[in-house]
Symmetry: C2
Subunit: 399 residues, 2 copies
């Protein structure tokens, strides 16, 4: 039964390819050396996310110094230079020994907590510390063929899960019962559980599951839907509401396999939903078809956003689009090792599509008291257009 | 079946009690105003964790300004002053209007990302910004009777789960299959899924599950055990290893109900484990009995740590204690809304126990190639000693 039981050690040439692309950005930004610490970034550039400091110079060989577990990092990482780190002071001596003359050091200032930042700043004095989070995020924005294969593994598990949802569903079960069943199915087939989101305070647990009115519960989460949640300490996704008839059941899960996240939404319902909801769902499908037809390398994400928005306006659904009233400003978000990668397909945001970009397109409509409809698929930009990685029938699945 | 379907709105007097205790600390630290933003802290002081800024002055009434969702924050929070926040600039005008004369403003500098910190620093100029994370953590360290009840709810679900583990277990199932079954059981009974850890990079997914040698897989995680994990991008907890006979199955789960985390470990085995492991397990039980007998308000955590360590040394198990070779330096860690709260019961760390402190005591022994044994229970300091919140037979459960 388990399909994804193989884990992938990131190949050496893959790691060095990523590092070379990042080094170009470091040189362009005038940064001598980047110090990579955060788990997702560390895994991306080294193939491991043990407790380590990865030093990537603008030019030349990187060095990874590992505190815990050194043995495991040696097994997992295909980098050539991996040494043991005894204490933080050794980070400085490592830089002085191997990267002499570095005067501007880049840190992940978008995720590094302030106190830790000041500790590194003090440690590195008189070197100047600067932010390299944009350079990292832009490097990670373009997925290699290897990464697209990993996204496909993840999307395959997600698609399999959606084919099982009708067998899990019963009228009268609670949302969280359904969530538990979905999560069990994915866990035993390779979903690693925790879902990485880069932005501060943007926590999530594997996805959002809602039915009827709970999909219109607003939430702090930066997405079109929220969900009732189980309690105010985690106010999102599945709650105790019982799933009824003739209401859209929104299954929006982020599947994480080998670190890579595919984001995927489908709607189910016991019996028909109202014509109004069906119509709105069809607009979502039209928007997806529009993207699949029109988006290609060279397209501007802003133009795509506005063309889609015109379809929404024409249908008179602006108020319901991407959240009721105060909806979010985007219709697509990058995905990879984190759920909120670049590119973002959003209002007032120029972004030229390039091959290798991967994003989740999620045109959705939210109706207070009735619920949400729409779809979400993880897509990748190819040389000629978009390729859809997540599958399953995208109409409202009537049970 | 679902037991924990009620969620608790934090009572008004509970919130203001917490705020008063925090205000004493602010005054002692010479801070005029604290700006609370992080989800766990926000939930603690306001009862909601919508996207909001909570301003707590050293003296007087707090004010919460909410960006999204304002409606939901109004329903969830029992604070008297809750207003709508349009943009970040309004935070400054809010302070100028309601907290005139504030010159030192405290931020959560242990969790606030550097870039965001500098944004607030700029916004608040010429006010001085200082770190109030220790004041927050020390306030949260002492649990109220209301919080202890919430920890008991959480511990109850955890104890129920452990009573079911024998019915989930089969020889030859993979670790992650067992994990999926345990997680499903807890999810549908109120486990909210995501587990909050305060320290940077310390991610976890509901717990650690290991069998035999995988419990000795080292990991970046700051705990006695690691686990194989499913892949190098998330190198901890359950992996694909099949559960066999005569090896300890370590079930170490953090149960989160209404935000409150109980941490709990029990060992199962198909058939006996070796005498060496049984002996080590008995030392863990002895350490727990020692704590239950000796620890009380006024005890120093450092003394307790050393007394326990002497029992370990006497048994000749220092090398296996709390991780093989390079074990962690603590035997107990605070728990509450985050898994890594104060107090820590650790080597070289003075901490005087006080009523209301809650911590997970986890004396464990790790044997390379064989696995881990030991127990973990969530305990609370009462007026007279310790009360154990998590239950279930703590011997190795032979199946």
């Amino acid at each position: 039964m388990p399909r994804n039981t193989q884990h992938h050690l990131t190949p050496r040439e893959e790691l060095y390819g990523r590092i070379r692309r990042f080094q170009e950005r470091l040189r362009a930004a005038g940064v001598d050396l980047a110090l990579i610490i955060q788990n997702a970034d560390l895994f991306y550039f080294s193939g491991t996310c043990q407790d380590a400091h990865l030093m990537i110079p603008a030019q030349g060989e990187p060095l990874m110094m590992v505190r815990k577990s050194y043995e495991r990092a040696l097994k997992e990482s295909a980098l050539d230079r991996v040494t043991q780190l005894k204490n933080l002071a050794a980070v400085r001596s490592g830089i002085e020994k191997y990267f002499k003359g570095s005067s501007r050091v880049g840190l992940e200032m978008d995720v590094l907590p302030a106190n830790l930042f000041f500790r590194y700043k003090e440690l590195l004095k008189p070197m100047e510390v600067v932010d390299v989070s944009e350079e990292i995020r832009k490097t990670r924005m373009i997925k290699s063929p290897y990464e697209i294969d990993r996204l496909k593994d993840s999307a395959r598990l997600s698609t399999e899960m959606f084919s099982q949802v009708p067998s899990f569903l019963r009228v009268g079960m609670s949302e969280v019962e359904l969530a538990g069943r979905i999560e069990q199915y994915m866990r035993e087939r390779g979903h690693q559980g925790a879902l990485r989101v880069r932005a501060f305070n943007q926590e999530a647990h594997m996805g959002h599951l809602m039915s009827g009115w709970t999909a219109a519960c607003p939430s702090f989460f930066n997405g079109p839907t929220g969900g009732a949640g189980l309690n105010p300490s985690f106010p999102q996704s599945a709650g105790y509401k019982k799933i009824g008839r003739n209401e859209p059941i929104v299954v929006d899960y982020a599947t994480v396999v080998n670190g890579y996240i595919s984001d995927h939404t489908r709607i189910f319902s016991f019996g028909q939903v109202s014509d109004k909801l069906t119509l709105a769902h069809n607009i979502s499908l039209e928007i997806k078809r529009f993207f699949m037809r029109e988006a290609k390398p060279g397209s501007d994400g802003k133009d795509l956003y506005y063309s889609a928005y015109q379809m929404v306006q024409k249908a008179g659904l602006s108020e319901q689009y991407m959240g009721f009233g105060s909806g979010v400003n985007f219709v697509g978000h990058g995905t990879g090792l984190e759920l909120d990668e670049l590119p973002v397909i959003a209002r007032n945001h120029h972004i030229i599509l390039q091959p290798g970009m991967a994003f989740a397109l999620e045109p959705k409509f939210v109706f207070p008291n009735e619920g949400a409809v729409g779809i979400e698929d993880t897509l990748v930009v190819t040389e000629t257009g978009l390729e859809q990685l997540t599958g399953h029938d995208d109409s409202i699945q009537i049970l």
